[in-house]
Subunit: 451 residues, 2 copies
């Protein structure tokens, strides 16, 4: 995500409300090695990057860093714009244990052996410092594993039972579940959604306790039982590249794409704006000369536009303002979904961002091919089609190279750094963090089946 606090552009002469300065971020949380899997070192299937030919962590020749931990079949390359990187990532094996119930229907023991194995990739693009992104990279997979372990009996059933212990209280319970169309996949989706909520709460508590601030986007891919789940909250993006098709696997949540939801909340709860902002959208911020004129506008119930006569209250700063990458929520944030930001307020006011900012991800379920996950630094300068063209050009000639996916990720990064082989128009360069995963679904599927 482009950091709203540091990259905002102003219209000439506009007095802008601004967020609190990122004071506490001057001493950010030091980078910690993700403690990814409890007991994974003793687990026979745990990936050790150094032991596999296809899994060597790659240091980008440009200015990348070596990921301290990864699962081996996908590489992440980070272009780093700052000393303490606001882009954070995590990937690894997801070891889900089976829980057993005792007579009191309480959890008695956790089997030490893994019961289900999945794979996890996650990108977190921080703003207001790296603290939230680091916490998310260290926490979200644990939340997810816990959520999955809590429903694992349902995951492996032909159909999730109405009651987790399998008792049938009402004879037609299986029918109710069937009529609702509830499948094991819905439990994975529910676990991801609940994990995002839980992780958001953890980040809120931890940042408050340590006197820090900030937030981050989250883009998460999980491969489990032969299916890929993509969960997104923010403006990173994942696409699926097939031989003759490119499919977006995520949808960007920005103040612009979520305008109607945000305006609707301000309509229902006008006190959230404390009389400082106008809910209405105009093509530009209005000024005194516009008073009494009929100008283009739209409100929460409109996807189209109409005209209204300008009143004094329309001259307030708009709830959503700016265009494209410059669009901001309450003059502050460039995304409308993500983790953290519990303390974030508009500068010199008591107006909170959080009620407008959701931690609810959007979910996508997918079954094959190559997935490219990247933070906005990539998508700012490369289109989906350009990325797909690079993927399709590179892979067929490098089928035997065990590091081909790492090299492909490197090449994508290079294309954003103004290199000679750059694909971008007029040598466009990204000055934002750039993080990329390239995830080959077929070989990943084969690898999974080894466990």
């Amino acid at each position: 995500m482009s950091a709203g606090w540091f990259r905002r552009r102003f219209l000439p002469g506009e007095p802008l409300p601004a967020p609190r300065p990122p004071g506490p971020h001057a001493s950010p949380v030091p980078y910690r090695r993700p403690r990814f899997l409890r007991g994974s070192s003793s687990s026979p299937g745990a990936a050790d990057a150094s032991r596999r030919p296809d899994s060597r962590p790659v240091r980008s020749p440009a200015r990348g860093r070596t990921l301290p931990w990864n699962a081996g079949y996908a590489e992440i390359i980070n272009a780093e714009k700052s000393e303490f990187n606001e882009d954070q990532a995590a990937c690894g094996k997801l070891c889900i244990r089976r829980c057993e119930f005792g007579a009191e229907e309480e959890w008695l023991t956790l089997c030490p052996e893994e019961f289900l194995t999945g794979h996890y990739w996650a990108l977190f693009d921080g703003h207001g410092g790296p603290a939230a992104a680091i916490l998310a990279a260290n926490t979200l997979h644990s939340c997810l594993r816990r959520q999955l372990e809590a429903v694992v009996e349902g995951l492996v059933a032909t159909q999730p039972p109405m009651h987790l212990n399998g008792r049938c209280i009402c004879p037609s319970d299986p029918q109710f579940v069937e009529e609702k169309g509830i499948r094991a996949e819905d439990l994975v989706i529910g676990a991801l959604e609940s994990a995002f909520q839980e992780c958001d709460e953890v980040i809120g508590r931890e940042l408050e306790a340590s006197g820090q601030m900030g937030g981050c986007t989250a883009l998460v891919a999980v491969s489990l039982q032969g299916k890929l789940y993509m969960a997104n909250a923010g403006d990173s993006r994942a696409i699926l590249v097939r031989r003759d098709e490119i499919r977006p696997l995520s949808f960007e949540f920005t103040p612009e794409t979520e305008r109607q939801r945000i305006q609707q909340l301000a309509f229902v709860y006008p006190e959230l704006l404390a009389g400082e902002f106008t809910r209405l959208e105009f093509p530009r911020r209005l000024k005194g000369d516009d008073l009494g004129q009929k100008v283009l506008f739209r409100d929460h119930h409109m996807s189209g536009w109409s005209y209204k006569r300008v009143e004094k209250s329309d001259l307030k700063y708009p709830l959503i303002h700016g265009q494209g990458r410059q669009a901001r929520l309450l003059g502050t944030l460039a995304v409308s979904r993500g983790l953290g930001d519990h303390q974030l307020r508009v500068l010199d006011t008591n107006i909170q961002l959080k009620p407008f900012l959701l931690s609810v991800p959007q979910l996508e379920l997918q079954e094959d091919d190559v997935v490219v996950m990247a933070t906005d630094g990539l998508w700012d300068v490369l289109s989906n089609e350009q990325v797909a063209w690079l993927v399709r050009s590179f892979l067929p000639g490098n089928q035997e190279d065990p590091h081909r996916f790492s090299k492909l990720a490197q090449m994508l990064i290079h294309s954003t750094q103004g290199k000679e082989d750059s694909l971008t128009e007029e040598g466009q360069v990204s000055y934002d963090d750039v993080s990329v995963f390239v995830i080959p679904l077929h070989s990943q599927g084969q690898e999974s089946s080894d466990h």
Copy 2:
């Protein structure tokens, strides 16, 4: 819409909160001829059904009624389940006049001549009596015409100007409008959205003044400047039939399709449920035996499912309950968008339906082929594919028949009435009102160009 009040199905032994009985509807608003266009009788382009060979109003041989007014190139056939029909319709020419501004920037004169001509088709499926549907059929087109006339200068401009009077206050105003991508089409969409809001307010006032109740869905097609706009609030449906493609032009708004929006509102505003309902969704209503068990559920942030341990508050009646066509909002309504219902409350409580019920339509913009618009009585027993098959089978052999679109509408109705030529599986019969428009876009376009 299937009327929630009369067709609710209950699970055995369930004590259900129910809406107020439809007492005032015993004497419904008498059917009134739609006063569609002010001065349309003197307008040279006004359609007179009896004057055109292709435009004869059709009385369904089954049990249809003759529409008192229509524009001539589309037919509506109504199967009527009740004496006072809850399905209502309106169609006709939309004559938009040009407004002129005086020195005070007030409207000075309304040109008596039409300036722009469009066409309008609308279906309204009432519940709790026909009153709201009749009001909507008599009112919505006037609201729309008024909204369009208010922005007509923008409609005919190459690009809608920032200021309706064309003055340019800020030199870069055209650039702001261009960057927002605002086109003349967005003004038509905005006018439709505002017309729905305005019509909803009119219905609320009129029903209250006359001591009546009820609501209705609204599905509206507008053809203007060579484009077709489809606006939908409720569970009617419009599809586009092409030679080798079927495309839905609307999306049904029911308690099931809008579950997350409705649960979210109850999460933000728990007092709306007055402690009588639970926000959570379970596969079936829970009972005492479920207490303490872990059962399938989902909350506002989840598209997937998870398990929770059942507490006493989970035994309350669910905010959204039932499956498919039987799903109900607060045990009462089968749709989540529509007009009217301002006074509707859950029986024996003060809980209002309206905060959960939106009058905001979803908009679709389209440019060609054949549109089939129908209320839910048709779609209950015929699939999109079956309707498309009927359209594609019938039209090619009847190219010369000036009444072919009327006959096609009749045939679609017959297929829901258990006729011999019925397409429905196992002779399925619709006992609901059934209303159908068949709108041939190409010939309509030619006709429009005559004016």
